[in-house]
């Protein structure tokens, strides 16, 4: 014990006093030492780290709010807006600031009358959300609801009501595929480009169509609003505001009136219509139906609506005018005729049609027994026999270059996300693709636009426009971006003969006389086409039975015949005949261009039969789809959150890969024929899959 307490057991008072002085001095030194330490620490914070902490204090104090730029308008050739902006209100949740998620969402549900579906979606989205990324509760809310939420925000931390611009497409579904739509940037967009603008609530970027390709022009530059805020987010005062620079207007060659008319006129069909300006190549209309409502995309599409679009066998998400590929059928006969003329065939030479053409021991049938046919008459009547015979004479390798010259198989330089350019086959192509030589029956099939031949409606419209104008027109969409136009490398007299034939189709004794324009002085010329979807099964012949096996109806046209101003193409999927389904649409569109009042009157009457205009029908369809046993799906859909952007992109691309039932069908890519052609009927059987027919014209 003693060692602990020390040996000096007898301490005197003097010694004690001395010890005290020493120890008190030590404590005094400690006081000064700690005082110095504190002073040094403070100096370190306030001087050495002053800059760092000043910045932190400043970022505490100042809240930088990005003002999203107003998106540029998209207007038509006359300046009529196709895509514009509306002021709207929205409510978001900021996950970072959300303290009591369930309570806040519960409160919002009451104030905003959210459906259980909405609530489930918000919960699901919150789970996926990053802290910095606002989760939308509702967009486009009405003013009363917005005001009610705004009033209560101090009690609901994490709720951010705001005013924003929403994209508005007055024409709705009619412009869907052309213009595309806008949507909130995805997390992936933000990861690749760390622009804070992308995660600003209400900011939308182009996701499809022109909205996507013209993003750079349309976007503009954001403004910034600096405000002083308290720790609780209460605004103290505005500091400075830099206004946004609105995006620029994009002016199109489109005629908004015609575009809308075309979309509406396609009606209940699944199809597309393209109209070009024959002088410049400007695209006046590029419609594809059925479509989606781009307005509902711009506010974020619901999973349910998305599901409905996905499950529709008419593929509303596909821009059929550019991405749909079809066997063009008889609509390519004008190209074949030009090739014949180029090869020196006398247009007056007569081929007698006895209802078919024999190749070896096989008969390629015509749809009628047309008797003696010259070139003009063969075009008028769409006589397969004439083209079988003449095509075989010159060979398809001399027809293919003309088809290509007229735009088939070509990709056009257009500001659209994707287009497909189909196939113009020839012997080299077949050898490359199937390692089989070209056969005579390939020639017969290709000459009448069946077999390997595939084209998009846009290409067919270009074909019509080039024949009509005699110019090598290139289609374009943005006003002022016309491509140089050079004369078509085809003699004028050849073109004149083909135009005469096409004139007769509508105005003579042809296949589309029913679609003669109801105008006194203006004539439309055209060529019908009916394309088989699959091999002929018995007597069905693609004219009845299940919708997806019916023939496609096609029509190419130009107006007026004497001095063409407009040319185009209409393709009605499974419309059963060009004359029956496609030509009337062309007739209506051309009527609209010369006498809009009359055309609208007719359209209104048609729509009355169809059950209202396209937007009314779509709304009704959505409602019916929702109620038809999908209410349980609705809740499930809500629980999965909103449609992911990647999901949309993926499925539209899937659609592009297999655009129409025709491409999934055996008939579209026929089995190659055996090299030595006419052998046994058994070996020939498969080649009937290679449809030996032309057009079952009435």
């Amino acid at each position: 014990m003693k060692w602990l307490l020390g040996s000096n057991l007898h301490m005197t008072e003097a010694q004690q006093s001395f010890t005290f002085s020493r120890r008190a001095f030590f404590l005094g030194a400690t006081q000064i030492g700690i005082g110095t330490l504190l002073a040094a620490r403070m100096g370190w914070l306030a001087v050495a780290e002053n800059e760092k902490y000043s910045l932190l204090a400043e970022s505490n104090r100042v809240s930088l709010q990005i003002l999203p730029p107003r998106r540029g308008w998209i207007v038509d050739r006359k300046g009529r807006p196709i895509a514009l902006n509306k002021t709207a209100f929205r409510v978001d949740l900021i996950p970072d600031r959300l303290l009591d998620k369930d309570a806040v969402i519960g409160q919002l549900q009451q104030i905003m009358r959210l459906t259980p579906e909405d609530v489930a979606r918000v919960h699901a989205d919150l789970k996926k959300a990053y802290g910095f990324q606002p989760v939308p509760v509702a967009e486009n809310v009405d003013w009363e609801t917005f005001a009610a939420v705004s009033l209560r925000t101090p009690d609901m931390p994490g709720v951010a009501p705001s005013e924003y611009f929403t994209r508005f497409y007055p024409e709705g579904a009619s412009v869907a595929h052309l213009i595309g739509y806008v949507g909130a940037a995805s997390a992936k967009d933000y990861e690749t480009n760390r622009d804070p603008l992308l995660i600003t609530p209400g900011f939308k970027i182009g996701k499809a169509g022109l909205e996507k390709t013209q993003e750079a022009v349309l976007r503009g530059a954001p403004g910034a609003k600096r405000t002083e805020v308290t720790a609780r987010g209460k605004l103290v005062r505005d500091l400075a505001t830099r206004p946004d620079v609105p995006g620029k207007t994009v002016k199109l060659t489109i005629d908004a009136g015609l575009q809308d008319f075309a979309g509406r006129r396609l009606g209940l069909e699944s199809g597309s219509a393209v109209v070009l300006d024959c002088q410049t190549g400007g695209i006046l209309a590029l419609a594809s139906m059925p479509a989606f409502d781009p307005n509902s995309f711009s506010d974020g599409i619901g999973r349910l609506e998305w599901k409905m679009l996905q499950e529709d066998d008419h593929i509303p998400m596909l821009n059929k005018a550019m991405q749909g590929l079809y066997p063009p059928g008889s609509t390519v006969k004008p190209a074949a005729a030009l090739a014949l003329l180029q090869a020196g065939v006398d247009p007056e030479e007569v081929v007698v049609c006895n209802g078919g053409y024999r190749l070896g021991n096989r008969t390629f049938r015509c749809l009628g027994r047309h008797g003696p046919m010259t070139m003009r008459h063969a075009l008028m009547k769409s006589c397969n026999t004439y083209f079988y015979a003449m095509g075989r004479r010159i060979g398809y390798d001399r027809i293919a270059p003309v088809a290509r010259l007229l735009g088939m198989g070509q990709e056009f330089d257009l500001p659209m996300p994707s287009q497909r350019y189909g196939t113009v086959p020839d012997s080299a192509w077949k050898m490359r693709k199937f390692e089989k030589p070209w056969s005579q029956s390939d020639t017969l099939n290709a000459t009448i636009g069946q077999g390997y031949v595939q084209a998009s409606p846009l290409q067919l419209a270009v074909l019509a426009a080039r024949i009509a104008s005699g110019k090598h027109l290139e289609p374009y969409l943005i006003a002022g971006q016309q491509k140089p136009v050079r004369p078509l490398d085809i003699p004028a007299d050849h073109l004149a003969i083909v135009r005469e034939g096409m004139d007769l189709v509508v105005n003579g004794d042809g296949t589309a006389v029913a679609s003669r324009l109801p105008l006194p002085d203006i004539r439309m010329a055209g060529k019908t086409g009916t394309a088989q979807v699959r091999k002929i099964a018995g007597a069905q012949r693609g004219q009845s039975g299940a919708w997806k096996y019916r023939d496609h109806g096609l029509f190419v046209f130009f107006t007026p015949v004497e001095a063409p101003r407009y040319a185009g193409a209409v393709v009605i999927e499974h419309g059963m005949g060009g004359a029956r389904a496609a030509a009337p649409v062309a007739k209506s569109m051309m009527t609209y261009l010369f006498d809009p009042a009359r055309a609208m009157e007719e359209l209104t009457a048609l729509e009355a039969n169809w059950g209202g205009d396209v937007n009314t029908r779509m709304a009704r369809k959505a409602a019916a789809w929702k109620s038809a046993g999908n209410s349980s799906e609705a809740a499930k859909a809500g629980a999965q959150g909103s449609v992911d952007d990647a999901e949309v992109r993926q499925s539209t691309q899937e659609g592009a890969a297999a655009p129409t039932p025709v491409n999934r069908d055996a008939a579209a890519v026929p089995e190659p024929e055996t090299a030595t052609n006419p052998v046994s009927p058994a070996s020939l059987r498969p080649t009937t899959a290679n449809p030996p027919t032309g057009t079952p014209q009435p």
Partner: protein, 368 residues
């Protein structure tokens, strides 16, 4: 001296100390005026009023002879100890963590009074202990019991900050009384070794405070928020500060407790390093004055008490400033004379009252 026109009573006042106290308290009032957003209410006026009352009280205490304090030290200690136990019982019955007795106009925290009483009682013990006994166990265990009882009572309240200050107050007196140095060093080593054990018995919120103190940025929006925001306030103030009423951290509510525990940060943001050095210097000078009083004291009780109380005030300031600057965990100790709130000011003014009494006693004796 008799020819002076100034009365002896006035001349004998420790004017330098009073100037320091009034200066610090007035500065405190200015800071509280700013913390309230440029308003005398709710803090600045009551701060001044309270300080004035306590100052008068301290000056009255100064006139009470040192021997009276010596006589009352141990009885006073036991009364406060009983109060502490009473508070514990009331707290246990009430089911809450009440730490005060409501005396109507003021809520009295016995634990605050204990900071003063432990110094007086321990000093009294050593004053009574014969000089020869100092190296014996009888010099060690009674003070340990004296400080151990209130320490444990306050610790279970739970109030780690106050409990530590009580313990440090008692230990300071033991140190000054001449307990062998090796005991302090040995205890320090054992204490350091026992830290993990102590940590394990801490309350959850106390553990959290320690962890956040060690790394405040990990929880910058949660419990580390206090330290982070306080450092931002001090750091952004720079050398000369942002100017009176221009502090953004305090005025925009980023700085929590800007008028109580973190009042120094509020001050530093607006007055900068200059203001901070002024406050630190003032408190060092007050401490020095206290230790000078101790060195001049004639009695052993006076010496030990004066030095102990001086250190108590100093601990108050130190713990608060270390906390505010991010060098110590957040323990809820205010800055005396500056922070709004009566308790800390009362304790410090009581300490100063006793100190002035000892000082007066010294002068009177010298004057004789």
């Amino acid at each position: 001296m008799s020819d002076s026109v100034i009365p002896t009573a006035l001349r004998q006042l420790p004017w330098r100390l009073l100037a320091l106290l009034i200066g610090v308290a007035a500065f405190g009032a200015i800071i509280l005026y700013s913390a309230a957003g440029g308003s005398l209410t709710p803090w600045a006026t009551s701060h001044v009023v309270r300080f004035s009352i306590f100052l008068i009280m301290a000056m009255i205490m100064a006139r009470i002879p040192e021997t009276t304090y010596a006589r009352l030290a141990l009885p006073g200690y036991f009364i406060v100890l009983i109060l502490l136990i009473g508070v514990e019982l009331i707290g246990a019955i009430g089911g809450g963590s009440q730490r005060w007795l409501d005396l109507g106009y003021i809520r009295l925290q016995p634990s605050e009074l204990m900071k003063l009483m432990i110094v007086l009682a321990t000093a009294r013990f050593y004053a009574m202990l014969p000089a020869g006994e100092i190296r014996k166990w009888t010099a060690i265990w009674p003070p340990l019991v004296l400080l151990g009882l209130p320490f444990l009572l306050v610790l279970i309240q739970p109030d780690l900050g106050t409990a530590s200050m009580i313990a440090i107050g008692g230990l300071t007196i033991m140190f000054l009384a001449g307990i062998p140095l090796r005991l302090f060093i040995g205890a320090g080593v054992i204490g350091a070794a026992a830290l993990p054990v102590i940590y394990s018995v801490l309350h959850e919120y106390q553990k959290k405070r320690v962890l956040i103190f060690l790394n405040p940025e990990t929880d910058a929006l949660g419990a580390g928020y206090h330290i982070t925001q306080s450092k931002i306030a001090i750091g952004s103030g720079g050398i000369f500060g942002k100017g009176f009423l221009n502090g953004t951290q305090s005025h925009l509510d980023y700085l929590p407790e800007g008028h109580t525990d973190f009042v120094f940060a509020t001050m530093a943001e607006e007055w900068g390093l200059v203001g901070g050095l002024a406050v630190i210097t003032a408190f060092v000078l007050i401490g020095r004055w206290g230790l000078n009083v101790a060195n001049r004291a004639n009695s052993r009780f006076g010496r030990l008490t004066a030095a102990g109380l001086s250190m108590t005030i100093f601990y108050y300031v130190t713990i608060n400033l270390l906390m505010v600057m991010g060098l110590a965990p957040v323990v809820g100790i205010p800055l005396p004379l500056v922070s709004h709130g009566g308790t800390a000011m009362l304790t410090v003014m009581l300490c100063l009252g006793v100190l002035m009494s000892i000082d007066r006693h010294n002068r009177v004796q010298r004057g004789l």
